[in-house]
């Protein structure tokens, strides 16, 4: 049985974001805390909140076994957009003397700059374009990622004291040699934007464009006319971005031609679906043979492909004989793969296979002090992969400059799958649909398509998180009474050899066992019992000072969407929040009276609304027990009540 493990969402994330931590903070409406947790590992949450490939959602245990995954990406976007902007606190002046050059200001380069600045180094970022951001500002169209969102994140990084030099091209304006003279370490993260063009006749015709150049022009505000009929070749995000952009530029017929099947497309299915909604057509298992036309492209000759599954991996592609056909086109845009521009730093590349030579996972090259990262090293990946690479780069550079040994981080232990019988007991709750502009409106302009959640929607969606790995932990105080076995609605606790055992992979963190444990031996990961007691004491102290003998204490649930009805008594109301009211015990209901409360109200859910099975029933039982004690004490049990909106 695993006793300490990370949830799969966190393990799948290239930067191991504390997903359940920030989702829990959102569910209780604490956006500042959510933003703080997010920014501990991710300097681009507003960007990832829009375009992340969301590895986390594909492994979400709710999605795997219960209903649909939690909308983690949109929740991150919500927290990052809505939290008040707090400038990260870096050192006022660099702490260390060494200066570091970062070449390329995409997510990898800027993340490295961010981390190195926070570590206390002076960092200068060199960017070939006239604006920082790499593909974030010069690749992804504004309807998916508005420029101002990226600019805001970049400003935060620059506010750490990072120096930026734009329109500086490596190999034209400066050389690697120059950098090594002036800086003690160099991080090369120039991305992967050299287009690979298919080996077709007619590729030089006018009207045949490369996706990267096309999208760069768009990001600069240019609005070229792609003509009526556009064909985009490729199956990645860029191909979809280009196709949707062409629709917005007024093209009548836009189709994406991809040589493999829809299941093999590197682009996310959500992107494909959105493109289809907007009217982009897809031709799968089709490849270009030749581009035809006089000076300007007019037709594209294609051939149908067949996947030979007998080969290893995805299978090799073979042309179907005699399947050639022509498509009329006004322009063709190639999104058929990218690689790094190696020319300015040819000395780092292996002459045989053309790959950059690195020593190990740190990204260190054979040239002392020169590190590589991001898409420049890996080829095209995702923003979050690039951020991860930037983080690794910053760490490696710090270790290199400070002569620190590399840390061998063990692979995290990941929670087991949710058992089917436990999953069957989890109350169902459908994923909140992500609001978006209507199709007819959005294809007319470059306005952002996705609108994000409202606070209510975000809290409700965050409340769907199963709080994996934040469940119950049994301490040595356990008296082995096995009350937890009797009360758990999910039938998770079991009698163990020494004491009760609760499998953290299966626990749903409702806390009912903790509230019913006579030895107070069960604690939960979300918030320890002692913290709850302390918060209650603080609130009661304050209430006792401010409104002695005349206050109302309300117990609220972090996950509850409805609220208590307005107080009519005119008494001062104080609120205490709990991540599920099922984890409360009878003491907590009585303690306010000891502090002089006039009334205690428990804002419990109705059974059908509650995130946790049987939680509302346990709240009622606890209230009834506490009311009995009050009756015994000669107090009016009516002072203690369950209130519902």
């Amino acid at each position: 049985m695993i006793v300490n493990a990370v949830p799969p969402c966190q393990a799948a994330c290239p930067i191991q974001m504390d997903v359940q931590g920030y989702v829990a903070a959102i569910s209780r409406g604490d956006l500042q805390e959510a933003d703080r947790i997010i920014r501990r590992t991710n300097p681009f949450p507003s960007v990832c909140g829009r375009i992340c490939t969301r590895e986390c959602e594909f492994v979400c245990r709710r999605g795997q076994k219960v209903d649909e995954p939690v909308a983690i990406r949109v929740l991150k976007r919500f927290a990052a957009d809505r939290a008040e902007s707090v400038v990260p606190c870096g050192p006022e002046k660099p702490y260390y003397e060494e200066r570091i050059a970062v070449v390329g200001s995409g997510p990898a380069g800027l993340t490295a700059a961010h981390d190195l600045a926070l570590l206390g180094y002076g960092v200068t970022v060199f960017e070939a374009e006239d604006e920082l951001g790499g593909m974030m500002t010069r690749g992804i169209p504004g309807y998916r990622l508005p420029l101002e969102v990226v600019r805001k994140e970049i400003e935060r990084i620059l506010s750490l004291g990072v120096e930026a030099r734009t329109s500086q091209v490596l190999g034209r304006d400066f050389t690697l040699h120059d950098l090594r003279e002036e800086y003690q370490a160099v991080f090369l993260a120039m991305g992967s934007e050299k287009s690979f063009c298919p080996d077709c006749r007619g590729v030089d015709l006018s009207g045949v464009l490369t996706a990267v150049d096309f999208l760069k022009d768009i990001s600069r505000g240019e609005r070229p006319d792609p003509g009526e009929k556009v064909v985009v070749i490729g199956g990645g995000h860029t191909a979809i971005d280009v196709a949707r952009t062409c629709l917005r530029l007024g093209a009548g017929e836009v189709s994406v031609v991809y040589r493999r099947t829809i299941d093999e497309m590197p682009a996310g299915m959500d992107q494909v679906e959105e493109a289809q909604e907007e009217g982009v057509a897809f031709r799968f298992v089709t490849a270009p043979v030749e581009f035809l036309g006089v000076k300007t492209v007019e037709k594209m000759r294609c051939v149908k492909m067949k996947v030979d599954k007998s080969c290893k991996g995805k299978g090799s592609l073979v042309c179907v004989e005699g399947s050639e056909f022509d498509i009329k086109v006004d322009s063709i845009i190639l999104a058929t793969g990218y690689g790094p521009r190696t020319e300015p730093v040819q000395e780092l590349f292996d002459s045989l296979d053309g790959k950059v030579e690195i020593k190990d996972g740190s990204g260190a090259t054979n040239m002392a002090g020169v590190f590589v990262g991001g898409d420049f090293l890996s080829g095209p990946t995702s923003v979050v992969q690039a951020i991860a690479s930037g983080r690794t780069g910053a760490d490696s550079i710090h270790r290199y400059l400070r002569s620190l040994a590399p840390v061998d981080t063990p692979e995290p232990v990941v929670l087991d799958d949710l058992d089917d019988q436990v999953a069957a007991l989890v109350p169902r709750a459908q994923r909140r649909k992500i609001p978006a502009l209507p199709v007819e409106e959005r294809i007319k302009n470059f306005e952002e398509v996705e609108l994000g959640y409202t606070l209510e929607e975000a809290r409700a969606e965050a409340g769907r998180c199963l709080n994996c790995s934040a469940g119950a932990v049994v301490s040595y105080e356990c008296a082995s009474c096995l009350n937890c076995v009797l009360v758990c609605p999910y039938e998770v606790p079991r009698p163990g050899a020494e004491r009760a055992e609760i499998d953290i992979s299966q626990c749903q963190a409702c806390g009912i066992c903790a509230g019913q444990c006579p030895a107070a031996a069960i604690d939960l990961g979300l918030d320890p019992r002692e913290k709850h007691r302390e918060i209650l004491r603080e609130v009661l102290d304050r209430a006792g000072r401010e409104a002695p003998g005349a206050f109302v204490l309300q117990f609220m649930c972090d996950f509850r969407q409805s609220r208590v009805p307005p107080s009519e008594s005119g008494k001062a109301v104080y609120q205490v929040f709990r991540p599920g009211l099922g984890r409360m015990d009878v003491y907590e209901l009585l303690a306010p009276f000891q502090a002089g409360a006039a009334a205690v109200q428990v804002a419990a859910c109705r059974d059908q609304d509650c995130k946790f099975k049987d939680c509302a029933g346990w709240v009622r039982k606890n209230v009834k027990r506490a009311a009995r004690v009050m009756d015994d004490l000669g107090l009016d049990p009516g002072q203690l009540s369950i209130v519902q909106e």
Partner: protein, 215 residues
Amino acid sequence: MMVAEAKPLAEIQGMIQGYRKILIAGCGTCVTVCLSGGAQQVEILAASLRTAGKQQGLAWEINEETQLRQCDPMFVQQIRDRTGEYDAVLSMACGAGVQTMAETLGDIPVLPALDTLFFGGADGQGGFVELCAACGQCILSRTGGVCPVARCAKGLTDGPCGGAQAGKCEVAKDTPCAWQLIYVRLLRLGQLHLLKESTPPKARRVHPARLVREG
């Protein structure tokens, strides 16, 4: 295990009426398991008494402490130094715990907050049932593992009284007749012949019993 239940609050309040500074002492063993005197119940009783004291204008100062096992002087010794400042200790242990604490602490009144009910076990539904009377001469080998001393309302050791109806005791209608249980169990075990043997009379126990550790 010992099974106990909390005394009515009014009775407890009456007991501590004359004292000002009181320690509520829980026990981490049997009474924790039967949800009567563990750490959580100590907290609840303390909060209840503080609230009651406030209502009645009594200046009770109440602190809490839970020991692993109150029926062992070695555990009680651990808190002996701290108890000097109290006027009374309200013990949430069984009778054995209360007495051990009283004897170990010497000159501080130790008051029982629980009524000790019986030796028993869990019924698997969250409740507890009396199963043993600690008679000192166990006959379970002859009664199919069902004790008539503890479980027969009349304590009969040589067969049923004849008053049971539909397998239920005539004294308490929701209690199964112990001798019916014994019969069914012996039938299943193929040991009905044991019923033909009479149980020799038990020697009357002289209290208090002792168990001396072998030297």
